[in-house]
Structures are given as C-alpha cells and as structure tokens.
C-alpha cells in the first residue's frame, strides 16, 4: 500500500489522544474490561472518540481538532466525566499514568481485533508488555515538508515533553528509579526511536517509505513506533513520547506547549535541523526518562550541558507571546507550576510513601483522574 497523500490542513490545530488504564476496584490491578466499557459507552453519544487498545485493560480516547486551550480542555473534561460515570456504573476505575505500578503483563488479554492479534503474533510478549499508557499530540501542518521540518526541529525539545509528562516510575511492583519507565517498553520495538533525517516529503515518500515497503518490513505508517511521526492522512505530526498524565488538565497543557513551540519553530528563526542534532538525541532522551526535571541535557548545536528544568523554564518564557496569540497562556502557567512542584512521577512516589503500598498509588491515581483531590 503506497503512502497516503499528505492532507495538509490548518497549521497549528491540535488534537489529543490518551491511553487510559482500566482498574479493578477489588484489588486495584488492571482489569480486562474494555469490551464491557465500550459496550456501555456505545449506547450514548460520546463527546469525542473512544477506541479499544491492544490489551483489554486499556482504552484510548481522542479529542476533536482544536485551536484553543479552553476548547480542548472543555472537551477533555466532558470526555473524562463521561468515562468516569460509565466506569462507576461497571465498577471500573479509570486512571492516567504511563504504567500500572504492579500489573503482570503475562495476565493481560489481547483485544479481539485482527490488527492487535497480528501485532501480538509478530512481537510475542512485547505486545503484552506494551500495556503502557501514552499521550499522543497531533499538530496540524500545512504540507509534508513543514511536517518533516517540525518533526526534526522538535527533536531538541523532546526531553521537555518526557520530563513534564513523566508518570511511570513503578513497573511490575517496584520503583524503576526512572521517572518515565514507559518509554523503555516502546524502545524494544524494532521500528521505534527516531525518524530518518529527511526534510522533503517527496524524498520521504519515494526514497524512504517506498523502499521500506519493498523490504516487506512495513505496510503503513502505523508500523512505525517513532517518537514523532508524520500522519499524512490527518495532515499532522504526532508526538508520542509523553506518558499519559494523571489529569486531563496536564494533557491539555502539554498539547498547547507543543502548539506554541511549533508556532515558534515555523518562523524558522532557529538554526535549521541537521542530522548531527541526533548525536545527543538518545542521551538526552535517557536523561529525561531517568531523572525527569532533574536531568541534564546536551544542547545539540552548542554541546553545552543544560539543566533540563532550567531549559524548560527558559523555553516556556520564550513561548509566552506565541501562547498568548493562540490562547494558551493558562497552559504554559500550568507547566510552569510543574517545574516548581514536580511531575506526576514525583506525585506517585509521594503516594507510595504515604500509603505504604503500590495499591495506594493506583487508588490515588484513580481519584486524581476524577479531579476530586
């Protein structure tokens, strides 16, 4: 199947996808309940879109296309309230967070859908280990070339999104000492990581995608698990490194930060992206995953060491005028707070210390998602 045409749309529009955890109220473990929840949700109109995910303990919701923070947040609130109400009717807790702190991947069930079954057959246990929960943000691009320009220009800012959204410190019952352990699960897939350094859509389509398709390794863009990937059918680029935050407020704020950054980058005032930017890419990515806001990253152009927290604060201040124009000032203020108060990963560790158990973490995450604490 050849690569779809890049349906260029309105630049800087945004949409959010959130993968969410379905939790049993009996023991706070994940529960294979997505068929039941989807059945109930299908009985009434849903304020967005809800779809199954690879294992039956997950669902994915996505927002419509928005231009302003207030509209996006209002819809995410509506989606959240609908989900929480339906979940309560079925005794299912719904939570954000990049990983479930103690679920055993071996106990997960693959959702009955041909694509999921194929993925499971190809990747074996990796498919079940993929029971991790991310936020994807789409930003509209005028054309394919802009999309590839943004994709590579954003590589320098990727650690910001990892650190600000980090909410997966616990895996299989233990503290991983990472702030975002989720990305390590994604890294196991052969088609993960960074996209090839190509800035022309024509070249991407004919020199890269066509060859890859010819090898038989991939069939569509869906087979790439890149950190940022172009999505030609939507006319967007999709940022995939964020853990699902514990609240929809943070999810909306992250989307608006990316929107402001893209507005800034599209002015092309910064030095253009280069292949060499990727020399420090994996190291910076690791620092953000491991140490979160306390990480130290290397600037890809100057090779200067920067405190990630300071770098985020500087960038947030720089983005102020862009956010103001786009109606996203409240979003940047929210993220400013995160750099002071700590990420969701920090919150989850605090909950573990306070409750003394991994179940206490899930209990807190379920309550935090409802916005009632």
């Amino acid at each position: 199947m050849p690569l779809e045409t890049f349906n260029g749309g309105t630049p800087l529009t945004m949409g959010v996808e959130l993968e969410l955890q379905l939790v049993s109220f009996s023991d706070y473990d994940l529960t294979a309940s997505s068929p039941d929840l989807l059945h109930l949700l299908a009985r009434k109109p849903f304020p967005g879109n809800v779809t199954p995910e690879i294992t039956e303990s997950m669902i994915e919701i996505n927002s419509d296309v928005h231009t302003r923070h207030s509209e996006l947040l209002a819809q995410l609130h509506e989606v959240r309230d609908t989900l929480v109400t339906a979940g309560e009717q079925l005794n299912i807790g719904i939570a954000g967070g990049g990983t479930h702190p103690f679920q055993k991947w071996v106990e997960r069930r693959i959702f009955e859908k041909p694509r999921f079954k194929q993925v499971s057959q190809l990747y074996g246990y990796l498919a079940k280990q993929f029971t991790v929960f991310g936020q994807h943000v789409h930003i509209g691009c005028a054309n394919g070339d802009d999309a590839l320009f943004l994709l590579h220009s954003l590589s320098r800012y990727l650690p910001h999104f990892i650190a600000l959204s980090a909410s997966s410190p616990f895996v299989q019952g233990g503290d991983t000492l990472f702030n975002s352990a989720r990305l390590n699960s994604v890294f196991a897939f052969p088609m993960s990581g960074r996209a090839p350094f190509l800035l022309s859509w024509d070249e991407f389509e004919h020199s890269y995608f066509a060859k890859m398709e010819h090898t038989g390794v991939i069939k569509s863009m869906k087979d790439f698990y890149w950190d940022i990937r172009p999505k030609p059918e939507y006319g967007t680029i999709e940022l995939r490194v964020c853990d699902t935050p514990l609240t929809v407020e943070r999810a909306a704020a992250l989307a608006c930060y990316l929107q402001a950054l893209c507005a800034y980058l599209l002015e092309r005032k910064e030095e253009p992206p280069a292949e060499d930017d990727y020399l420090v890419y994996n190291y910076n990515r690791f620092q953000a995953c491991r140490f979160g806001l306390d990480g130290t990253v290397v600037h890809p152009k100057t090779y200067e060491s920067l405190s990630l927290r300071e770098d985020i604060l500087t960038t947030l201040r720089k983005m102020d005028p862009y956010a103001e124009k786009l109606g996203g000032t409240a979003a940047l203020n929210h993220l400013m707070q995160v750099t002071h108060m700590g990420s969701d990963a920090q919150y989850l560790r605090d909950q573990f210390n306070a409750s003394g158990s991994v179940e206490g973490i899930v209990d807190a995450a379920v309550r935090r998602f409802r916005g009632r604490m």
């Binding site: 049993s24 706070y28 529960t31 693959i110 158990s357």
Partner: protein, 392 residues
C-alpha cells in the same frame, strides 16, 4: 501390634485429600474441567466406599479445618465486594434481591406441591437461595477471569450468602420454637446469632487494618495477618455457636472498606489456601449418603432446573438497565449455579441445635452432590462464553 483400623482412620483424610488433588490435576489437564468438581466427586466416592473412616462430628478437626477453609474464601469474597458500587448502580442489588427471593418462592412452591411438609419446603427454599462462594471464587481464580460477569457474580454471591443465611436462620428459629416451644431459645438461635456474628466480624475488620497500619507493614504482612484472624474468628464462632459465614464475610467487607490504602491479599491465600480448598471440597460431600442422594434425586433435579432458570431469568432481566448486554446477563445468572459447600456448612452448624437436616432433607443431599460436581462447570463455561477468562 498397631491397630490397623485406627491407623486407617487417621490416614483416611490425608489420603483422600491427596487422591482428590491428584485426580483434580489429571482430569483438569485432560478435560479442562474445574479441579474442584473432581475434588467433590473423589470425596463422595471415598465416603461411600469407607463410610466408617469418613465419619465426622461437628467438633472434629476436619470440620473445623473445613470451616477455616470456607472462612478464608468468604473473607476473600467480602474483600472484593465494593458496597459503593451497589449504591451507584442499584440495578445490581435489585437483580440480586429479585433472583434470591424469586428462587425462594419457586423452590418452596415446587417442594410444597411435591408433597413435602411446609417447614421442610421452607428450609429447602432458603438453602436454594444461596450460591456457594467456594465454587464461584475458586473457578474465577482458576480461570483468572475479569469482566462484568465476574464482577457481578462476585457481588451477587455475597448478597445471596447473606440473604440465605438470614432467611435460613429465621426459619430454623421457627423450627426450634415449634419443637421446643421456647421463644428465647428460638431467638437465640436466629436473631442474636446473626447480629453477634456480623458484629464480631466487623469489629475485627476495623481493628486488624488499624493495627497493620500502625505497624506500617500493610503490604508485607497483610495476607498472613488476615489469614490468622480468619482462623481465630472461625474458632470463636465455633466455640460460641455463632455463624462463621457471616462473621468472616463481615470481616472481609469491613477490612476492605476501612482501609486507606489497599494491599493485595494473595488470591486464594496462596498454597495453604489451595490445600484447604481440596480438604473443603472433599469434606463437603463426605457428609452425604448415597441413599439420600437416590431418594431425593428426582426432586433435586426438578429444583435445580427451576433454580437455574429463575436465577438466570431474574439476573438477565436487569442486564440492560444495569449497563451490560443481555447475553452477559444470562451468563451471570448461569454462573450463579454452585451452592453445595455453602449448604453443607450451614447444615453442619445447625447440628448443635439438635436438628440434623441432611437426613430430613434428602433432596438437599442430592442437590448438594449434583451441584458440587456440576455447579463449578456451569460457572466455568459461563465465564468462557463471556470471554472473560485468561484463555485467548
């Protein structure tokens, strides 16, 4: 020279348990049938082959162990019940009330029309209301199932248990009053027993988590502490002629709802829990005699079919308003089939009141045997058809 018969009697139970476990493993591997169905069958065959070796009294260690095993299961059930859900989705408790009392009515009617005396029919009807947590919970854990059928069955089983115990004890109270003429004795055998048992469990449910929290070892020591307290609760209720069923269930329920943070109690209470289950299922049918099963077989089959139908229709009727598909509603009703172990232990506890109901109620013996073997298979099939088991 050692007395061969004495040694045999001492060896009978451990050997029967070992045999049941082995048979359970082999047959489960070949047929995928629930292990507990096999345990029951082996127990019944052993008891019929050597009736003298498997004689038990109310105070025998085997009876006490069986009660502890059942107590652990009831605690686990109580611990998994979310009372908050029953308030949010009232159709779940409504379906529970309807299926329980409709079963009572229909079973009473059939037994009465069959020609049984009124009191016997009432007792039969109250026992038929129940669903055995032992059968259901073990199958759920064995199949590692999760989903709405699993969730609803667990909550309905808890409701069935409580309602069945309440109604059964009230009827026994009347029975005592009719035979002894003493109202005090009747009340002490029903109302006081019920209230005291539930209170005792609730108090433990509040104290134990508080102590564990104070010790700061909630996640590490939770399972052991809860298991130990179940043993103590069963011993106290046994000594004080109270209901271990209500006490352990109330303990689980309160412990769950009184805790700030939750810890996983090991499902099935680990290997010890598994061992106790084999004993429990072997014990449950060893109390039945083949004569009673034959004598009550006809009525038992009619009653069981009626019970299955009533429970299934009642639960399915509220499926859509309760938020699940009709199909899952029907399967939830079918999954409520097991009843044996609960009935046996309830009857065992009534022996001290001088009422030996198993002999009075031949149909109960037959129902118990059939349901001990068939009930878990129904639950297992219902969960598989609902696509809620771990198999893909």
């Amino acid at each position: 020279m050692p007395d061969f018969l004495v040694i045999s009697a001492e060896l009978a139970w451990p050997l029967a348990v070992l045999l049941a476990w082995l048979a359970g493993e082999f047959i489960h591997r070949w047929t995928k049938l629930p292990r507990i169905s096999v345990y029951g069958l082996v127990g019944f065959l052993c008891a019929q082959a050597f009736p003298d070796l498997f004689m038990t009294e109310g105070s025998s260690p085997v009876t006490l162990l069986a009660n502890v095993a059942f107590g652990l299961i009831l605690f686990e059930l109580g611990y998994r019940v979310n009372l908050h859900w029953l308030r949010i989705n009232p159709w779940v408790p409504v379906s529970g009330l309807v299926e329980t009392f409709a079963t009572f009515g229909v079973v009473y009617l059939i037994a009465h029309l069959w020609g049984l005396p009124s009191m016997t029919s009432l007792l039969l009807a109250s026992l038929a209301m129940s669903t055995s947590p032992a059968g259901v919970l073990r199958v759920i854990n064995e199949q590692r199932s999760s989903g709405q059928v699993t969730e609803r069955v667990l909550h309905l089983v808890a409701m069935n248990c409580v309602l069945a115990v309440l109604v059964f004890k009230v009827i026994v109270g009347f029975w005592v009053f009719q035979t002894s003429g003493s109202l005090t004795q009747a009340i002490s055998h029903s109302l006081i027993e019920l209230v005291a048992s539930a209170l005792l469990g609730a108090v433990f449910g509040m104290v134990v988590p508080a102590v564990l929290r104070h010790l700061g070892t909630l996640s590490r020591d939770g399972t052991v502490a809860f298991a130990l307290v179940v043993v103590i609760l069963v011993a106290i209720t046994h000594a004080a002629d109270l209901s271990p069923v209500l006490a352990t269930l109330a303990f689980g329920l309160t412990a769950r709802h009184r805790r700030v943070a939750f810890t996983r109690t090991v499902r099935n209470f680990g290997a010890i829990g598994e061992l106790m289950t084999v004993l429990l299922f072997v014990f449950a049918v060893s109390t039945l005699s083949w004569n009673n099963v034959l004598f009550g077989g006809g009525l038992a089959i009619v009653l069981l079919l009626a019970r299955l139908l009533v429970k299934t229709v009642s639960v399915a009727a509220f499926a859509h308003v309760g938020g699940i598909p009709w199909r899952k509603g029907i399967l939830t009703g079918v999954a409520l089939s097991p009843m044996s172990v609960f009935v046996v232990l309830l009857l065992e506890q009534t022996k001290y009141a001088g009422i030996v109901l198993v002999d009075e109620l031949a149909a109960v013996a037959a129902m118990t045997l059939f349901m001990e073997v068939i009930g878990p298979i129904f639950t297992q099939r219902a969960l598989i058809l609902a696509r809620e088991t771990a198999q893909e």
